[in-house]
Protein backbone atom coordinates (compact mmCIF):
# COMPACT_ATOMS: atom_id res chain seq x y z
CA UNK A 1 0.00 0.00 0.00
CA UNK A 2 1.23 3.49 -0.83
CA UNK A 3 1.80 5.85 2.07
CA UNK A 4 -0.72 8.67 2.46
CA UNK A 5 2.00 11.31 2.45
CA UNK A 6 5.48 10.96 1.09
CA UNK A 7 8.05 13.68 1.59
CA UNK A 8 10.97 13.04 -0.76
CA UNK A 9 14.32 14.75 -0.34
CA UNK A 10 12.64 18.08 0.34
CA UNK A 11 14.86 21.12 0.70
CA UNK A 12 14.02 24.75 1.27
CA UNK A 13 16.47 27.61 1.56
CA UNK A 14 15.92 31.19 2.65
CA UNK A 15 18.62 33.40 1.14
CA UNK A 16 21.29 30.78 1.58
CA UNK A 17 20.04 29.48 4.92
CA UNK A 18 18.98 25.85 4.58
CA UNK A 19 15.78 25.60 6.60
CA UNK A 20 15.17 22.10 5.24
CA UNK A 21 17.90 19.89 3.88
CA UNK A 22 16.85 16.81 1.89
CA UNK A 23 14.24 15.66 4.39
CA UNK A 24 12.39 12.44 3.58
CA UNK A 25 9.71 10.53 5.46
CA UNK A 26 6.37 8.83 5.01
CA UNK A 27 3.03 8.98 6.79
CA UNK A 28 0.75 5.95 6.61
CA UNK A 29 -3.02 6.27 6.70
CA UNK A 30 -4.57 6.84 10.10
CA UNK A 31 -1.26 7.09 11.95
CA UNK A 32 0.11 9.84 14.14
CA UNK A 33 3.61 10.96 13.31
CA UNK A 34 5.40 13.50 15.48
CA UNK A 35 8.09 15.72 14.08
CA UNK A 36 10.18 16.83 17.02
CA UNK A 37 13.10 19.19 17.21
CA UNK A 38 14.22 22.40 18.88
CA UNK A 39 13.00 25.82 17.83
CA UNK A 40 14.26 26.60 14.34
CA UNK A 41 14.66 22.95 13.36
CA UNK A 42 12.43 23.45 10.33
CA UNK A 43 9.08 22.04 11.51
CA UNK A 44 6.95 24.98 10.47
CA UNK A 45 8.82 25.32 7.18
CA UNK A 46 8.13 21.65 6.55
CA UNK A 47 4.40 22.21 7.14
CA UNK A 48 4.39 25.24 4.88
CA UNK A 49 6.03 23.23 2.10
CA UNK A 50 3.57 20.32 2.45
CA UNK A 51 0.50 22.61 2.33
CA UNK A 52 1.88 24.68 -0.53
CA UNK A 53 2.27 27.91 1.42
CA UNK A 54 5.97 27.72 0.49
CA UNK A 55 7.51 26.13 -2.59
CA UNK A 56 10.34 23.67 -1.93
CA UNK A 57 13.67 24.53 -3.53
CA UNK A 58 14.26 20.83 -4.11
CA UNK A 59 12.57 17.47 -3.76
CA UNK A 60 8.93 16.45 -4.08
CA UNK A 61 5.84 15.94 -1.94
CA UNK A 62 3.37 13.17 -2.79
CA UNK A 63 -0.12 12.92 -1.35
CA UNK A 64 -2.06 9.75 -2.15
CA UNK A 65 0.71 8.86 -4.63
CA UNK A 66 0.36 12.09 -6.58
CA UNK A 67 2.76 15.04 -6.56
CA UNK A 68 1.28 18.09 -4.88
CA UNK A 69 4.29 20.29 -5.42
CA UNK A 70 3.28 23.67 -6.83
CA UNK A 71 -0.32 23.49 -5.60
CA UNK A 72 -1.64 26.44 -3.60
CA UNK A 73 -2.82 25.98 0.01
CA UNK A 74 -6.52 26.10 -0.87
CA UNK A 75 -5.91 23.28 -3.37
CA UNK A 76 -4.09 21.02 -0.92
CA UNK A 77 -6.89 21.78 1.57
CA UNK A 78 -9.44 20.53 -0.94
CA UNK A 79 -7.35 17.41 -1.57
CA UNK A 80 -7.57 16.61 2.14
CA UNK A 81 -4.72 18.26 4.02
CA UNK A 82 -5.78 20.38 6.98
CA UNK A 83 -3.50 22.34 9.24
CA UNK A 84 -3.27 24.38 12.40
CA UNK A 85 -0.91 27.27 12.94
CA UNK A 86 1.87 27.51 15.53
CA UNK A 87 0.83 31.06 16.33
CA UNK A 88 -2.92 30.48 16.32
CA UNK A 89 -4.84 32.32 13.66
CA UNK A 90 -8.55 31.68 13.96
CA UNK A 91 -10.67 34.34 12.23
CA UNK A 92 -10.90 36.64 15.27
CA UNK A 93 -14.05 38.57 14.36
CA UNK A 94 -16.02 35.51 13.27
CA UNK A 95 -17.88 33.35 15.75
CA UNK A 96 -16.58 29.92 16.62
CA UNK A 97 -19.36 28.46 14.48
CA UNK A 98 -18.53 30.67 11.49
CA UNK A 99 -14.85 29.82 11.81
CA UNK A 100 -15.61 26.14 11.36
CA UNK A 101 -18.24 26.80 8.67
CA UNK A 102 -15.64 28.53 6.48
CA UNK A 103 -13.66 25.31 6.33
CA UNK A 104 -16.79 23.16 5.97
CA UNK A 105 -17.57 25.08 2.76
CA UNK A 106 -14.73 23.16 1.16
CA UNK A 107 -17.00 20.09 1.23
CA UNK A 108 -20.53 21.51 1.41
CA UNK A 109 -22.07 23.53 -1.38
CA UNK A 110 -24.36 25.79 0.65
CA UNK A 111 -23.85 27.99 3.68
CA UNK A 112 -26.72 26.19 5.42
CA UNK A 113 -25.15 22.75 4.95
CA UNK A 114 -21.75 24.07 6.03
CA UNK A 115 -23.27 25.56 9.18
CA UNK A 116 -25.01 22.29 10.01
CA UNK A 117 -21.74 20.40 9.57
CA UNK A 118 -19.95 23.00 11.70
CA UNK A 119 -22.43 22.40 14.52
CA UNK A 120 -21.63 18.68 14.44
CA UNK A 121 -17.92 19.33 14.59
CA UNK A 122 -18.32 21.74 17.52
CA UNK A 123 -20.14 18.97 19.41
CA UNK A 124 -17.37 16.54 18.58
CA UNK A 125 -14.65 18.91 19.76
CA UNK A 126 -16.55 20.12 22.86
CA UNK A 127 -16.75 23.69 21.58
CA UNK A 128 -20.53 23.76 21.18
CA UNK A 129 -21.14 26.07 24.19
CA UNK A 130 -19.02 28.72 22.46
CA UNK A 131 -20.65 28.50 19.03
CA UNK A 132 -21.76 32.13 19.09
CA UNK A 133 -18.67 33.54 20.80
CA UNK A 134 -16.29 35.54 18.64
CA UNK A 135 -13.03 33.63 18.31
CA UNK A 136 -11.04 36.57 19.68
CA UNK A 137 -12.75 36.07 23.05
CA UNK A 138 -11.75 32.41 23.46
CA UNK A 139 -8.91 31.25 25.71
CA UNK A 140 -5.68 30.12 24.04
CA UNK A 141 -6.51 26.45 24.67
CA UNK A 142 -9.91 26.86 23.03
CA UNK A 143 -8.49 28.81 20.11
CA UNK A 144 -6.06 25.93 19.53
CA UNK A 145 -8.93 23.49 19.78
CA UNK A 146 -10.91 25.65 17.35
CA UNK A 147 -8.07 25.38 14.85
CA UNK A 148 -8.24 21.60 15.07
CA UNK A 149 -12.04 21.74 14.70
CA UNK A 150 -11.65 23.94 11.64
CA UNK A 151 -9.17 21.51 10.10
CA UNK A 152 -11.53 18.59 10.77
CA UNK A 153 -14.27 20.47 8.90
CA UNK A 154 -12.27 20.05 5.69
CA UNK A 155 -12.91 16.29 5.95
CA UNK A 156 -9.17 15.78 5.57
CA UNK A 157 -7.14 12.58 5.29
CA UNK A 158 -4.27 14.30 7.04
CA UNK A 159 -3.96 17.12 9.56
CA UNK A 160 -0.73 18.95 10.26
CA UNK A 161 -0.67 20.10 13.86
CA UNK A 162 1.88 22.83 14.48
CA UNK A 163 2.63 22.98 18.21
CA UNK A 164 -0.94 22.34 19.35
CA UNK A 165 0.25 21.66 22.87
CA UNK A 166 2.67 24.54 23.36
CA UNK A 167 1.66 26.97 26.08
CA UNK A 168 -1.08 24.76 27.52
CA UNK A 169 -1.52 23.66 31.13
CA UNK A 170 -1.00 19.94 31.89
CA UNK A 171 -4.78 19.44 32.06
CA UNK A 172 -5.23 21.13 28.69
CA UNK A 173 -2.44 19.00 27.23
CA UNK A 174 -4.34 15.89 28.33
CA UNK A 175 -7.50 17.17 26.63
CA UNK A 176 -5.53 17.82 23.47
CA UNK A 177 -4.12 14.29 23.57
CA UNK A 178 -7.69 13.00 23.64
CA UNK A 179 -8.55 15.23 20.70
CA UNK A 180 -5.60 13.96 18.68
CA UNK A 181 -6.55 10.38 19.47
CA UNK A 182 -10.07 11.20 18.30
CA UNK A 183 -8.60 12.11 14.93
CA UNK A 184 -7.30 8.58 14.60
CA UNK A 185 -10.78 7.20 15.23
CA UNK A 186 -12.06 9.47 12.45
CA UNK A 187 -9.53 7.90 10.11
CA UNK A 188 -7.48 11.06 9.90
CA UNK A 189 -3.70 10.80 9.98
CA UNK A 190 -1.79 13.51 11.81
CA UNK A 191 1.66 14.99 11.68
CA UNK A 192 2.36 16.87 14.90
CA UNK A 193 5.21 19.33 15.13
CA UNK A 194 6.35 19.42 18.75
CA UNK A 195 9.18 21.25 20.42
CA UNK A 196 8.69 20.28 24.06
CA UNK A 197 5.92 18.25 25.74
CA UNK A 198 7.87 15.03 25.18
CA UNK A 199 5.66 12.88 27.40
CA UNK A 200 2.68 13.75 25.24
CA UNK A 201 4.67 12.83 22.15
CA UNK A 202 5.46 9.42 23.66
CA UNK A 203 1.79 8.85 24.39
CA UNK A 204 0.29 9.70 21.04
CA UNK A 205 2.88 8.97 18.38
CA UNK A 206 3.11 5.89 16.20
CA UNK A 207 6.31 7.20 14.69
CA UNK A 208 8.71 10.00 15.46
CA UNK A 209 10.91 12.05 13.14
CA UNK A 210 13.67 14.13 14.68
CA UNK A 211 14.67 17.32 12.92
CA UNK A 212 17.62 19.52 13.80
CA UNK A 213 18.92 22.44 11.75
CA UNK A 214 16.75 21.35 8.85
CA UNK A 215 18.05 17.81 8.71
CA UNK A 216 16.46 14.57 9.72
CA UNK A 217 18.55 13.25 12.61
CA UNK A 218 16.65 10.07 13.29
CA UNK A 219 13.29 8.38 13.01
CA UNK A 220 11.61 5.40 14.58
CA UNK A 221 9.19 4.24 17.20
CA UNK A 222 8.87 6.52 20.25
CA UNK A 223 10.80 4.23 22.61
CA UNK A 224 13.72 3.83 20.20
CA UNK A 225 14.04 7.41 19.06
CA UNK A 226 14.17 8.99 22.51
CA UNK A 227 17.31 7.01 23.28
CA UNK A 228 19.02 7.66 19.97
CA UNK A 229 22.44 9.21 20.75
CA UNK A 230 22.01 11.99 18.18
CA UNK A 231 18.66 12.93 19.69
CA UNK A 232 19.99 13.02 23.21
CA UNK A 233 22.86 15.16 21.97
CA UNK A 234 20.56 17.58 20.19
CA UNK A 235 18.30 18.01 23.19
CA UNK A 236 20.65 17.74 26.13
CA UNK A 237 24.06 18.53 24.66
CA UNK A 238 26.94 16.20 23.81
CA UNK A 239 27.87 15.69 27.49
CA UNK A 240 24.86 13.43 27.95
CA UNK A 241 25.11 11.61 24.64
CA UNK A 242 26.92 8.64 26.12
CA UNK A 243 24.61 8.15 29.10
CA UNK A 244 21.31 6.29 28.72
CA UNK A 245 18.45 8.77 28.79
CA UNK A 246 15.61 8.46 31.21
CA UNK A 247 12.29 7.75 29.50
Amino acid sequence: MNPLLEVREVSRSFEGLRALDRVSFEVREGTIVSVIGPNGAGKTTLFNVITGALAPTGGDVLFEARSIKGLRPHQTAHLGIGRTFQIVRPFPGLTTLENVAVAALARESTRRAATRRAHEILELTHLAPFARTEARNLTLARRKRLEVARAIALRPRLILLDEVMAGLTPAEVDQTIELVKALRSLGIAAVAGVEHVMQAVQKISDWIIVLNFGRKLAEGRPAEVMHHPEVVKAYLGSRYAGAPAQG
Binding site: H74, F91, E98, V102, A103, A106, A114, L154
Partner: protein, 314 residues
Protein backbone atom coordinates in the same frame (compact mmCIF):
# COMPACT_ATOMS: atom_id res chain seq x y z
CA UNK B 1 -41.47 42.98 15.52
CA UNK B 2 -40.60 41.60 12.10
CA UNK B 3 -44.01 42.55 10.70
CA UNK B 4 -43.72 46.08 12.09
CA UNK B 5 -40.33 46.40 10.43
CA UNK B 6 -41.75 45.19 7.16
CA UNK B 7 -44.57 47.73 7.25
CA UNK B 8 -42.13 50.55 7.99
CA UNK B 9 -39.91 49.38 5.13
CA UNK B 10 -42.85 49.24 2.72
CA UNK B 11 -43.94 52.75 3.71
CA UNK B 12 -40.39 54.04 3.27
CA UNK B 13 -40.12 52.51 -0.18
CA UNK B 14 -43.48 53.96 -1.22
CA UNK B 15 -42.44 57.39 0.05
CA UNK B 16 -39.14 57.23 -1.85
CA UNK B 17 -40.89 56.31 -5.08
CA UNK B 18 -43.41 59.12 -4.57
CA UNK B 19 -40.75 61.77 -3.83
CA UNK B 20 -40.47 62.78 -7.51
CA UNK B 21 -44.24 63.27 -7.77
CA UNK B 22 -44.69 65.53 -4.78
CA UNK B 23 -41.21 66.61 -3.71
CA UNK B 24 -39.59 69.94 -4.60
CA UNK B 25 -36.73 70.13 -7.10
CA UNK B 26 -34.41 70.73 -4.15
CA UNK B 27 -35.57 67.61 -2.33
CA UNK B 28 -35.27 65.45 -5.42
CA UNK B 29 -31.81 66.79 -6.15
CA UNK B 30 -30.69 66.26 -2.55
CA UNK B 31 -32.08 62.72 -2.48
CA UNK B 32 -30.46 61.96 -5.84
CA UNK B 33 -27.03 63.05 -4.62
CA UNK B 34 -27.46 61.10 -1.40
CA UNK B 35 -28.35 57.94 -3.31
CA UNK B 36 -25.31 58.28 -5.57
CA UNK B 37 -23.14 58.32 -2.45
CA UNK B 38 -25.01 55.50 -0.77
CA UNK B 39 -24.67 53.39 -3.94
CA UNK B 40 -20.94 54.05 -4.07
CA UNK B 41 -20.66 53.22 -0.37
CA UNK B 42 -22.29 49.85 -1.11
CA UNK B 43 -19.75 49.24 -3.86
CA UNK B 44 -16.82 50.15 -1.63
CA UNK B 45 -18.24 48.01 1.18
CA UNK B 46 -18.28 44.88 -1.02
CA UNK B 47 -14.54 44.88 -1.59
CA UNK B 48 -13.15 46.95 1.28
CA UNK B 49 -15.73 46.24 3.98
CA UNK B 50 -15.93 42.49 3.52
CA UNK B 51 -12.42 41.51 2.39
CA UNK B 52 -10.64 44.43 4.12
CA UNK B 53 -8.84 45.31 0.88
CA UNK B 54 -9.24 49.04 1.47
CA UNK B 55 -9.29 50.87 -1.85
CA UNK B 56 -8.60 54.60 -2.29
CA UNK B 57 -9.32 54.42 -6.01
CA UNK B 58 -12.90 53.32 -6.58
CA UNK B 59 -13.50 56.74 -8.15
CA UNK B 60 -11.63 55.32 -11.17
CA UNK B 61 -14.81 53.45 -12.03
CA UNK B 62 -16.89 56.55 -11.34
CA UNK B 63 -14.85 58.33 -14.02
CA UNK B 64 -15.26 55.49 -16.48
CA UNK B 65 -19.03 55.59 -15.97
CA UNK B 66 -19.02 59.38 -16.37
CA UNK B 67 -17.01 59.33 -19.59
CA UNK B 68 -19.02 56.44 -21.04
CA UNK B 69 -22.17 58.46 -20.43
CA UNK B 70 -20.72 61.65 -21.92
CA UNK B 71 -19.20 60.06 -25.00
CA UNK B 72 -22.13 57.79 -25.83
CA UNK B 73 -24.82 60.42 -25.26
CA UNK B 74 -23.07 63.52 -26.64
CA UNK B 75 -21.13 61.98 -29.52
CA UNK B 76 -23.19 58.93 -30.46
CA UNK B 77 -26.64 60.10 -29.29
CA UNK B 78 -27.37 56.98 -27.24
CA UNK B 79 -30.31 57.10 -24.83
CA UNK B 80 -28.90 57.72 -21.31
CA UNK B 81 -30.05 54.45 -19.69
CA UNK B 82 -28.10 52.42 -22.27
CA UNK B 83 -25.10 54.68 -21.86
CA UNK B 84 -25.25 54.12 -18.07
CA UNK B 85 -25.32 50.34 -18.54
CA UNK B 86 -22.48 50.50 -21.07
CA UNK B 87 -20.42 52.40 -18.50
CA UNK B 88 -21.10 49.68 -15.94
CA UNK B 89 -20.05 46.99 -18.43
CA UNK B 90 -16.87 48.89 -19.33
CA UNK B 91 -15.95 49.25 -15.65
CA UNK B 92 -16.54 45.57 -14.93
CA UNK B 93 -14.47 44.54 -17.97
CA UNK B 94 -11.63 46.74 -16.83
CA UNK B 95 -11.95 45.64 -13.19
CA UNK B 96 -11.21 42.00 -14.05
CA UNK B 97 -7.60 42.41 -15.28
CA UNK B 98 -7.02 45.37 -12.94
CA UNK B 99 -8.09 43.35 -9.91
CA UNK B 100 -5.97 40.43 -11.03
CA UNK B 101 -2.92 42.70 -10.87
CA UNK B 102 -3.85 44.93 -7.91
CA UNK B 103 -5.18 42.28 -5.51
CA UNK B 104 -1.68 40.82 -5.25
CA UNK B 105 -0.85 43.91 -3.24
CA UNK B 106 -1.85 43.99 0.39
CA UNK B 107 -2.76 46.64 2.93
CA UNK B 108 -1.55 50.15 2.14
CA UNK B 109 0.05 48.98 -1.12
CA UNK B 110 -3.33 48.00 -2.54
CA UNK B 111 -4.91 51.25 -1.33
CA UNK B 112 -2.16 53.35 -2.88
CA UNK B 113 -2.04 51.23 -6.03
CA UNK B 114 -5.71 51.99 -6.63
CA UNK B 115 -5.12 55.67 -5.89
CA UNK B 116 -2.31 55.64 -8.44
CA UNK B 117 -4.55 53.96 -10.99
CA UNK B 118 -7.06 56.77 -10.58
CA UNK B 119 -4.30 59.30 -11.27
CA UNK B 120 -3.35 57.40 -14.43
CA UNK B 121 -6.94 57.49 -15.66
CA UNK B 122 -7.07 61.22 -14.89
CA UNK B 123 -3.98 61.75 -17.05
CA UNK B 124 -5.38 59.63 -19.85
CA UNK B 125 -8.65 61.57 -19.79
CA UNK B 126 -6.71 64.85 -19.91
CA UNK B 127 -4.40 63.79 -22.72
CA UNK B 128 -6.66 61.78 -25.00
CA UNK B 129 -8.39 64.81 -26.57
CA UNK B 130 -9.75 62.86 -29.52
CA UNK B 131 -11.99 60.85 -27.23
CA UNK B 132 -12.53 63.06 -24.18
CA UNK B 133 -11.96 66.63 -25.48
CA UNK B 134 -9.22 66.80 -22.82
CA UNK B 135 -9.50 69.69 -20.37
CA UNK B 136 -12.25 71.33 -22.39
CA UNK B 137 -14.62 68.59 -21.40
CA UNK B 138 -17.75 67.20 -23.03
CA UNK B 139 -21.13 68.92 -22.87
CA UNK B 140 -24.28 66.81 -22.71
CA UNK B 141 -27.76 67.92 -23.61
CA UNK B 142 -29.35 69.67 -20.60
CA UNK B 143 -31.53 67.54 -18.34
CA UNK B 144 -35.21 68.47 -18.59
CA UNK B 145 -36.46 66.39 -15.66
CA UNK B 146 -34.60 64.91 -12.73
CA UNK B 147 -37.26 62.30 -12.09
CA UNK B 148 -35.96 59.47 -14.31
CA UNK B 149 -32.38 59.70 -13.00
CA UNK B 150 -33.71 59.97 -9.47
CA UNK B 151 -35.48 56.65 -9.93
CA UNK B 152 -32.33 55.15 -11.45
CA UNK B 153 -30.34 56.24 -8.38
CA UNK B 154 -33.01 54.76 -6.11
CA UNK B 155 -32.76 51.48 -8.03
CA UNK B 156 -29.01 51.51 -7.57
CA UNK B 157 -29.39 51.82 -3.80
CA UNK B 158 -31.97 49.02 -3.80
CA UNK B 159 -29.56 46.86 -5.81
CA UNK B 160 -26.74 47.67 -3.39
CA UNK B 161 -28.85 46.73 -0.39
CA UNK B 162 -30.29 43.62 -2.06
CA UNK B 163 -26.99 42.27 -3.40
CA UNK B 164 -25.18 42.96 -0.12
CA UNK B 165 -27.89 41.29 1.94
CA UNK B 166 -27.78 38.19 -0.29
CA UNK B 167 -23.99 38.02 -0.18
CA UNK B 168 -23.93 38.55 3.59
CA UNK B 169 -25.95 35.37 4.12
CA UNK B 170 -24.23 33.32 1.41
CA UNK B 171 -21.22 31.03 1.27
CA UNK B 172 -19.50 33.67 -0.85
CA UNK B 173 -20.02 36.28 1.87
CA UNK B 174 -18.57 34.03 4.56
CA UNK B 175 -15.53 33.42 2.37
CA UNK B 176 -15.08 37.16 1.83
CA UNK B 177 -15.25 37.79 5.57
CA UNK B 178 -12.72 35.05 6.26
CA UNK B 179 -10.35 36.79 3.82
CA UNK B 180 -10.92 40.06 5.65
CA UNK B 181 -10.09 38.38 8.95
CA UNK B 182 -6.99 36.42 7.94
CA UNK B 183 -6.18 35.70 4.35
CA UNK B 184 -3.49 33.09 4.99
CA UNK B 185 -5.76 31.11 7.31
CA UNK B 186 -8.62 31.42 4.78
CA UNK B 187 -6.41 29.98 2.07
CA UNK B 188 -5.39 27.09 4.35
CA UNK B 189 -9.08 26.39 5.02
CA UNK B 190 -9.73 25.81 1.32
CA UNK B 191 -10.87 29.29 0.31
CA UNK B 192 -9.72 30.20 -3.21
CA UNK B 193 -8.85 33.69 -2.06
CA UNK B 194 -7.77 34.98 -5.48
CA UNK B 195 -11.08 34.05 -7.07
CA UNK B 196 -13.25 35.38 -4.25
CA UNK B 197 -11.40 38.69 -4.05
CA UNK B 198 -11.58 39.17 -7.81
CA UNK B 199 -15.31 38.46 -7.88
CA UNK B 200 -15.89 41.00 -5.09
CA UNK B 201 -13.69 43.55 -6.85
CA UNK B 202 -15.55 43.26 -10.16
CA UNK B 203 -18.93 43.44 -8.42
CA UNK B 204 -17.75 46.47 -6.44
CA UNK B 205 -16.78 48.34 -9.63
CA UNK B 206 -20.35 48.33 -10.92
CA UNK B 207 -21.72 50.77 -8.34
CA UNK B 208 -19.33 53.70 -8.78
CA UNK B 209 -19.59 53.25 -12.57
CA UNK B 210 -23.37 53.60 -12.41
CA UNK B 211 -23.09 56.56 -10.03
CA UNK B 212 -20.56 58.25 -12.31
CA UNK B 213 -22.82 57.86 -15.32
CA UNK B 214 -25.86 59.29 -13.55
CA UNK B 215 -23.77 62.10 -12.07
CA UNK B 216 -22.43 63.10 -15.50
CA UNK B 217 -25.91 63.03 -17.00
CA UNK B 218 -27.22 65.24 -14.19
CA UNK B 219 -24.31 67.69 -14.45
CA UNK B 220 -24.52 67.77 -18.29
CA UNK B 221 -20.78 68.21 -18.39
CA UNK B 222 -17.73 65.99 -17.92
CA UNK B 223 -14.09 66.98 -17.68
CA UNK B 224 -11.21 65.18 -15.94
CA UNK B 225 -11.72 66.85 -12.57
CA UNK B 226 -15.48 66.31 -12.45
CA UNK B 227 -15.06 62.69 -13.60
CA UNK B 228 -12.43 61.84 -10.97
CA UNK B 229 -13.41 63.81 -7.86
CA UNK B 230 -10.95 62.52 -5.26
CA UNK B 231 -12.91 64.14 -2.42
CA UNK B 232 -15.88 61.89 -3.20
CA UNK B 233 -13.67 58.87 -2.55
CA UNK B 234 -13.01 60.09 0.98
CA UNK B 235 -16.71 60.81 1.59
CA UNK B 236 -17.75 57.37 0.37
CA UNK B 237 -15.21 55.65 2.62
CA UNK B 238 -16.29 57.75 5.62
CA UNK B 239 -19.94 56.87 5.01
CA UNK B 240 -19.28 53.13 4.85
CA UNK B 241 -17.10 53.20 7.97
CA UNK B 242 -19.44 55.54 9.86
CA UNK B 243 -22.37 53.22 9.21
CA UNK B 244 -20.38 50.03 9.67
CA UNK B 245 -18.02 48.48 7.10
CA UNK B 246 -18.79 44.86 6.26
CA UNK B 247 -22.44 45.15 7.29
CA UNK B 248 -25.63 45.11 5.20
CA UNK B 249 -27.14 48.36 6.48
CA UNK B 250 -23.96 50.29 7.23
CA UNK B 251 -23.56 52.04 3.85
CA UNK B 252 -27.22 53.12 3.81
CA UNK B 253 -27.26 54.37 7.40
CA UNK B 254 -23.85 56.03 7.14
CA UNK B 255 -24.57 57.54 3.72
CA UNK B 256 -27.94 59.03 4.65
CA UNK B 257 -26.78 60.34 8.03
CA UNK B 258 -23.56 61.88 6.78
CA UNK B 259 -25.08 63.57 3.73
CA UNK B 260 -27.89 64.82 5.98
CA UNK B 261 -25.48 66.15 8.59
CA UNK B 262 -23.29 67.75 5.92
CA UNK B 263 -26.30 69.45 4.36
CA UNK B 264 -27.55 70.84 7.67
CA UNK B 265 -24.09 72.08 8.66
CA UNK B 266 -23.67 73.70 5.30
CA UNK B 267 -27.02 75.46 5.54
CA UNK B 268 -26.61 76.63 9.17
CA UNK B 269 -22.88 77.27 9.52
CA UNK B 270 -21.73 78.17 6.04
CA UNK B 271 -18.25 79.24 7.15
CA UNK B 272 -17.58 76.49 9.63
CA UNK B 273 -19.31 73.55 8.02
CA UNK B 274 -16.20 71.63 6.94
CA UNK B 275 -14.57 72.13 10.33
CA UNK B 276 -17.66 70.89 12.16
CA UNK B 277 -18.07 67.97 9.78
CA UNK B 278 -14.48 66.91 10.40
CA UNK B 279 -14.97 67.25 14.13
CA UNK B 280 -18.02 64.99 14.08
CA UNK B 281 -16.14 62.35 12.08
CA UNK B 282 -13.24 62.35 14.52
CA UNK B 283 -15.54 62.05 17.53
CA UNK B 284 -17.60 59.28 15.96
CA UNK B 285 -14.60 57.21 14.89
CA UNK B 286 -13.03 57.68 18.32
CA UNK B 287 -16.05 56.29 20.16
CA UNK B 288 -17.39 53.71 17.73
CA UNK B 289 -14.58 52.61 15.42
CA UNK B 290 -16.65 49.75 14.05
CA UNK B 291 -19.45 52.07 13.00
CA UNK B 292 -23.04 52.65 13.93
CA UNK B 293 -24.72 49.42 12.80
CA UNK B 294 -22.50 46.99 14.78
CA UNK B 295 -22.92 49.23 17.84
CA UNK B 296 -26.72 49.21 17.60
CA UNK B 297 -26.69 45.46 17.02
CA UNK B 298 -24.62 44.90 20.17
CA UNK B 299 -26.98 47.10 22.17
CA UNK B 300 -29.99 45.18 20.89
CA UNK B 301 -28.35 41.82 21.60
CA UNK B 302 -27.49 42.90 25.13
CA UNK B 303 -31.09 43.98 25.80
CA UNK B 304 -33.01 41.05 24.36
CA UNK B 305 -30.81 38.15 23.34
CA UNK B 306 -29.58 35.29 25.50
CA UNK B 307 -26.40 36.00 27.38
CA UNK B 308 -23.41 34.63 25.54
CA UNK B 309 -20.97 32.51 27.49
CA UNK B 310 -18.44 34.95 28.84
CA UNK B 311 -14.87 33.84 28.44
CA UNK B 312 -12.01 34.75 30.69
CA UNK B 313 -9.38 35.96 28.28
CA UNK B 314 -5.85 34.70 28.64
Amino acid sequence: MATALRIVAALAIAALILVPLFGSEYLISFAFTTFLFVGMAYGWNLISGYTAYVSFGQISFFGIGAYAMAILVAKLSWPWPFAALAGVAAAALLAAPLGWAMLRLRGPYFALGMLGFMQVLYMVASAWSGLTNGGEGIYLPPVRSLRPVYLASLLMVAAGLGVTSMIDRSAFGLRLRSIGEDEIAAEAMGVDTTRAKLAAFVLASIFPAMAGGLYAYRLSYVDPSSAFPASYEVQVILMAIFGGAGTVWGPLVGGVLLTGVAEVLWARFAEMHLFLFGLIIVIVLRYMPEGLVPLLRQRAARRSGPVLPKEATG
